[in-house]
């Protein structure tokens, strides 16, 4: 009897997790985002006041403030562009790799998969810091370029958006490869042979057969890269320069430098809504489409 009860409620544990660690924090952020800011600890007023009778003390000033200043919107747009570019490059590099792994023999496949996962075993910070050492003015790459005579003076490789994109593509590549591999693994190679047999060369076969049949894997991998990159803070902070501001950095500064918690919360909450809503809509449309197309 006790086991039955356990089984019955066990299925709800993911929801419990989701409520405790996602919806409640989200509600707290929303609450802070609509409160009035003040100097103090914490730096905002309560939204329910009881001193002279019950009074609701909320404001949407914070949202108005964020959306009327291009500083905030611009950083969010920068982050979206960064995420799009990074996802594109992850896909460009990740797809052929995932396809190669999925179609190689079992021994080589396992070795390659381990190689994909190995970077996860070392600290994320350390890996990004290593890129700093490689790219800095007296770093390995510049030393090699100078010695080969390709440049006469060290190149400024660090502290710009290209270094940020490179760092992100490097870090997030496994997140693209693994779901793609999981999908391509089930890919029937006879489809490729059938396409060639029916007269399509390699390039046409790729666009008419391989690509359309890989859409679910591409979608999964791209979302897994795109979503976290929008909020990425550490990589732009360590490898990026002052030429471009990103959402994660602005959020950090708003919280910890300006100590404007309501403003930062409004920024965070808007970001989640702007990012999550289109993705949810996309997911619904996509699942309908894939159901119809039997992929």
């Amino acid at each position: 009897m006790k086991n039955k009860l356990f089984e019955k409620y066990f299925v709800f544990s993911p929801y419990f997790w989701l409520v405790l660690f996602f919806f409640i924090p989200l509600a707290i952020i929303f609450k802070i985002s609509i409160s009035v800011s003040e100097w103090g600890m914490p730096p905002y007023q309560d939204i329910f006041l009881f001193d002279n009778g019950f009074k609701i003390n909320t404001t949407f000033e914070n949202y108005v403030y964020i959306f009327s200043d291009y500083y905030y919107i611009g950083s969010f747009v920068n982050s979206l562009i960064l995420a799009l570019i990074s996802t594109f490059f992850c896909l460009l590099i990740g797809f052929p790799l995932a396809f190669y792994i999925a179609t190689s023999n079992i021994r080589l496949r396992n070795i390659l998969l381990v190689l994909v996962v190995i970077p996860f075993w070392s600290s994320f910070l350390l890996r990004v810091y290593a890129w700093k050492i490689i790219l800095q003015n007296n770093g390995i790459l510049n030393v090699i370029l100078l010695n080969l005579g390709i440049t006469s003076e060290p190149l400024q490789l660090l502290y710009n958006q290209y270094a940020v994109i490179m760092g992100i593509v490097y870090t997030y590549l496994p997140l693209m490869i693994l779901p793609l591999y999981g999908y391509l693994n089930k890919f029937d190679l006879n489809f490729i042979e059938a396409s060639k047999d029916l007269g399509l060369n390699r390039i046409k076969t790729f666009f008419k057969v391989i690509l359309p049949l890989s859409v679910p894997g591409i979608v999964a991998g791209s979302l897994l890269v795109f979503i976290p990159v929008v909020g990425e803070f550490i990589i732009p902070e360590m490898l990026g320069g002052s030429d471009r501001l990103y959402y994660g950095k602005i959020l950090w500064e708003e919280f910890f430098v300006n100590r404007n918690w309501p403003g930062a919360s409004a920024l965070a909450f808007s970001g989640i809504i702007i990012l999550v809503l289109p993705i949810v809509i996309f997911q619904i449309l996509y699942s309908r489409w894939s159901e119809k197309n039997e992929i």
């Binding site: 489809f191 059938a194 029916l198 399509l200 197309n293 039997e294």
Partner: protein
């Protein structure tokens, strides 16, 4: 008939240390329905894939209609390959699957006409808007066939064309496939592990084992006059009897009887084949045993198969299979278990297996 329409010349293929094909030579005529029969690992599928261009042979050439196609890519070959899994594209409907191979070179209108024609030929007009997953196995087989035939190939390769179908559908499709092939006059080469399928479809067939072709002939010839012990056992039911020369005749120790052969033998010891339907069984009362080409035995097992009854008859140290046609509609006609019977045969029915 042009006997050299498809010429397979000295084809060998290894995967690592594993020799899959050893010096294969075959000539296939135009409009022939040719079967490659072998158990798994015989190399038959590798040979078909070499013809399709999916594998490159280590040595040898493939010549189709006078052109050497050995080094052509699959998409450059004037032939098509029907996969065992059919490999129909799940992201396209039936119409677009059929049109897949002709989209490049035809106008929309021509595509439309071609697809309609092929769909009519295969009676799948009503399925054109369906998705692949909505089709039954038999329907998928037709779409796969149509997708190849729409390209009007010189040669169609079929990998186990009927293996994915259930038994009843299989015999129906077998008949349709031969009718279609005779009508279109396209050369078909197919691979199968099923000897019945090979016999009923093929004009000629090759028996493959361990990367070699053991025999290549018409199904009748292979069944009636197999050259090797392996073929005799592989095709149909076979009674294999070991005999050796004793005085003027041949003698079997297992059966304890003399055989009269029409033929001179190279060896003093050999195997002979006696197909079960060539053996006539009669009741003990009717006949007396003669020492040549007949023996008396006891029925150990019998299984009633409708048109035939199969008996397992024990004589001395050996059990012989006999298929007896149920000629008489009286159900008591069958011999009961344990009955002593006389078996006899024509001496022409005895086939010597030299290899």
């Amino acid at each position: 008939m042009d006997n050299n329409f498809l010429v397979i010349e000295n084809i060998s293929k290894s995967f690592g240390d594993n020799k899959v094909l050893e010096n294969i030579n075959l000539n296939i005529s135009k409009s022939e329905f040719f079967g490659l029969l072998g158990s798994s690992g015989s190399g038959k599928t590798t040979l078909l894939r070499i013809l399709g261009g999916f594998e490159k042979p280590d040595t040898g050439r493939v010549i189709l209609d006078g052109t050497d196609i050995t080094n052509l890519e699959p998409f450059e070959r004037p032939l098509n390959y029907m996969f065992q899994s059919y490999a129909l594209f799940p992201h396209l409907n039936v119409f677009n699957n059929l049109a897949f191979g002709i989209k490049e070179n035809f106008t929309q209108k021509e595509i439309e006409i071609n697809v309609r024609n092929i769909a009519e030929l295969l009676s799948i007009e009503h399925l054109l808007n369906r998705r692949i997953k909505q089709l039954s196995g038999g329907e998928q087989q037709r779409v796969a066939l149509g997708r190849c035939l729409i390209k009007k190939p010189k040669l169609l390769l079929l990998d186990e064309p009927l293996a994915a179908l259930d038994k009843k559908l299989r015999s129906k499709t077998q008949l349709e496939l031969t009718t279609l092939q005779k009508k279109l006059k396209i050369t078909f080469v197919f691979v199968t592990h099923d000897q019945e399928e090979a016999m009923s479809l093929s004009d000629r067939m090759a028996i493959m084992k361990n990367g070699l072709i053991l025999e290549c002939s018409s199904p009748e010839e292979i069944y009636e006059n197999p050259k090797s012990l392996y073929t005799a056992n592989f095709i149909g039911i076979a009674n294999i009897i070991e005999i050796y020369k004793k005085d003027e005749n041949f003698y079997s120790d297992d059966l304890g009887i003399n055989f009269k052969l029409n033929k001179e033998l190279k060896n003093t010891k050999t195997n002979i084949l006696l197909r079960p339907e060539k053996i006539k069984i009669q009741s003990m009362n009717n006949l007396k045993t003669s020492s040549f080409n007949s023996f008396s035995g006891e029925i150990l097992e019998k299984s009633y198969l409708g048109s035939f009854t199969r008996y397992e008859i024990k004589i001395k140290n050996m059990i012989i299979s006999v298929l007896d046609q149920n000629f008489n509609s009286n159900s008591n006609y069958n011999f009961p278990k344990g009955e002593k019977v006389i078996c006899s045969w024509e001496s022409e029915s005895i086939k010597v297996l030299e290899d």
